[in-house]
């Protein structure tokens, strides 16, 4: 059965499997967005500008729905109702060190953290009502240390996991998240670490590194002339 673009479900639109991890979804989103960019020559003569706008809106919608665990669960349930998705969740993929796991919204992360803190015999402290906590991405304004930390936690990855994946010392990863610029090694090394870190959590390495280093430069007063030379 072939379908029109309007009838594709979000997984089909982003060309990912319903079992995809949030990293995979993010990568697919970046790729599909590049394909349907209004200036993409691969589309030349195929779609009208109006159609391209509509497709891009749907891609954004798909990404925003799938990248958050809560939204995705709701959407999956809806697909199951329409029998577009098998009822049983797919089995864990063998050979994958980090099993597929959708990103969680900051609200859920916070809730779980609080649950962990309150031990059973401690007096029940009134939990602050903060369900609608500050939404961070999908559209990250800037990759700062704390933002990177949130992104990592959303994926349920510890510093240790990232260190295993990237082979970057956990201490340096912590310093990056803390934005402890004085203790971090030379700028060129930080750039390398950031690129690896970005890949591990599924964000654009170039963007994350350049965003972060802008803050680094501003804080350390890295001379402009030197910066140019290093980046060439």
């Amino acid at each position: 059965m072939i379908k029109k673009i309007e009838d594709l479900n979000f997984y089909e639109l982003l060309e990912v499997s319903p079992a995809a991890t949030s990293q995979e979804i993010h990568k697919a989103y970046e790729r599909v967005r590049r394909v349907y960019d209004p200036n993409s020559i691969a589309l030349y003569s195929l779609f009208t500008p109006e159609e391209t706008v509509v497709i891009n809106q749907r891609i954004e919608e798909a990404y925003r729905t799938l990248v958050y665990e809560d939204n995705r669960k709701k959407y999956d349930a809806m697909l199951r109702d329409r029998h577009e998705l098998p009822d049983i969740p797919p089995p864990p993929r063998p050979g994958l060190k980090y099993q597929p796991r959708p990103a969680r919204t900051p609200a859920t992360v916070q809730k779980e953290n609080q649950l962990a803190v309150t031990s059973p015999d401690a007096p029940a402290t009134p939990r602050p009502v903060q369900e609608e906590a500050a939404p961070v991405p999908p559209f990250i304004g800037e990759f700062t240390g704390p933002v990177i930390k949130v992104l990592r936690e959303q994926r349920e990855l510890s510093i240790r996991d990232i260190a295993d994946m990237t082979k970057v010392n956990a201490r340096y990863l912590e310093l990056i998240e803390e934005e402890n610029f004085k203790k971090l090694p030379a700028r060129a090394y930080i750039r390398g670490f950031l690129m690896l870190y970005a890949k591990a959590i599924g964000y654009d390495p170039e963007r994350m590194a350049s965003d972060y280093l802008k803050r680094y430069d501003a804080a350390t007063g890295f001379p402009h002339s030197l910066r140019k030379k290093q980046e060439v």
Partner: protein, 314 residues
């Protein structure tokens, strides 16, 4: 994954087209043929570019005495007479028409006669080098083959023509399977982009046909799934150019519902131009050049019925 040895046993016809002129169709046909011959296959190259034949030149052969026009105009009855041995082992050639204007436009009977006789020839692979454009002759050869291969350059003009080619091939295929005259007329009308029925994409057409005749609509849908053209991106210079193949695959899936298979890309290199200037085939003159390597990879993908995937690329 199919075993390479298994894949090598069957006789197949591959057609190489692409709509636009000057995008390397003849060059790729010749060199894919040479790569196959190195795998101990008997290859027959057929210059089906009836109006502007020059496959012989890319193989370094002068203007041949006997060409396709001699066979089409019945100056010879035996197709063996027009097969030319090349100096490359296992590669033979049927050169394209050189004279007669009308030879460039064979009628349907002439075409079927040619195709029927081609199949009797002793060869493991028959490669058809199609001309530029989207005329019925070219489309028919493309549809007749086992594998239709499209060549594009990473340029808007070539991509526009490639989509046009796919659309023409697609609708002509539709017309072949439909017997009802009313629906044939509908398909003709749908080819016109500014038609009044609101049929813009192949989906619209199938929907439209389905409302008229349910069964025919289902047959057309099956045809869409069976139609699997292959894609080669030629003259790539950057990583983004390679990406275009994946993008076209995605766009084709979403616009036409067609499964376009991305066979591979060929890198841009001056050695290609030099080999054409010296009238010696690229894969013989520069066997270790990057474009030659790319062509070898394409041949392997074709034989194994595989295609490039994003994971092999990244």
């Amino acid at each position: 994954m199919l075993d390479l040895q298994d894949a090598l046993r069957k006789k197949e016809i591959w057609a190489i087209g692409g709509g636009k002129g000057g995008i390397g169709k003849s060059l790729l046909t010749g060199n894919i043929g040479i790569c196959l011959s190195r795998l101990k296959q008997k290859v027959l190259l057929v210059d089906a570019d009836l109006g502007g034949a020059n496959l012989h030149t890319t193989l370094g052969i002068g203007v041949p005495e006997m060409t396709l026009s001699d066979f089409l105009n019945r100056r010879t009855e035996n197709i063996q007479d027009i097969v030319i041995k090349t100096n490359i082992p296992n590669v033979s050639l049927i050169s394209g028409a050189q004279d007669f204007l009308d030879a460039a436009n064979p009628n349907f009977a002439q075409k079927t006669r040619l195709l029927r006789h081609l199949e009797t020839l002793d060869a493991d692979y028959i490669l058809l080098d199609l001309g530029a454009g989207t005329s019925f002759n070219i489309i028919d050869f493309f549809l007749f083959s086992d594998h239709g291969i499209l060549v594009v350059l990473p340029e808007p003009t070539a991509i526009e023509n490639a989509y046009r080619f796919i659309k023409s091939a697609f609708y002509r295929r539709f017309k072949k399977v439909v017997t009802h005259q009313g629906i044939k007329d509908l398909i003709d009308a749908a080819m016109d982009q500014k038609n009044t029925m609101g049929v813009r994409t192949p989906y619209d057409l199938i929907e439209h046909v389905r409302t008229l005749e349910r069964e025919v609509g289902e047959i057309l849908e099956l045809e869409v799934l069976k139609f699997r053209p292959k894609l080669i991106v030629n003259q790539v210079r950057t990583k983004n150019d390679i990406q275009i193949g994946f993008s076209m695959k995605s766009a084709c899936q979403k616009y036409f519902g067609i499964n376009l298979e991305y066979l591979g890309y060929v890198e841009y290199d001056d050695c290609v131009w030099q080999s054409i200037r010296s009238k010696r085939p690229l894969t013989i003159e520069y066997p270790y050049s990057r474009p030659s390597r790319c062509i070898e990879r394409i041949v392997h993908n074709l034989l194994r019925k595989e295609q490039l995937t994003l994971s092999t690329f990244y």
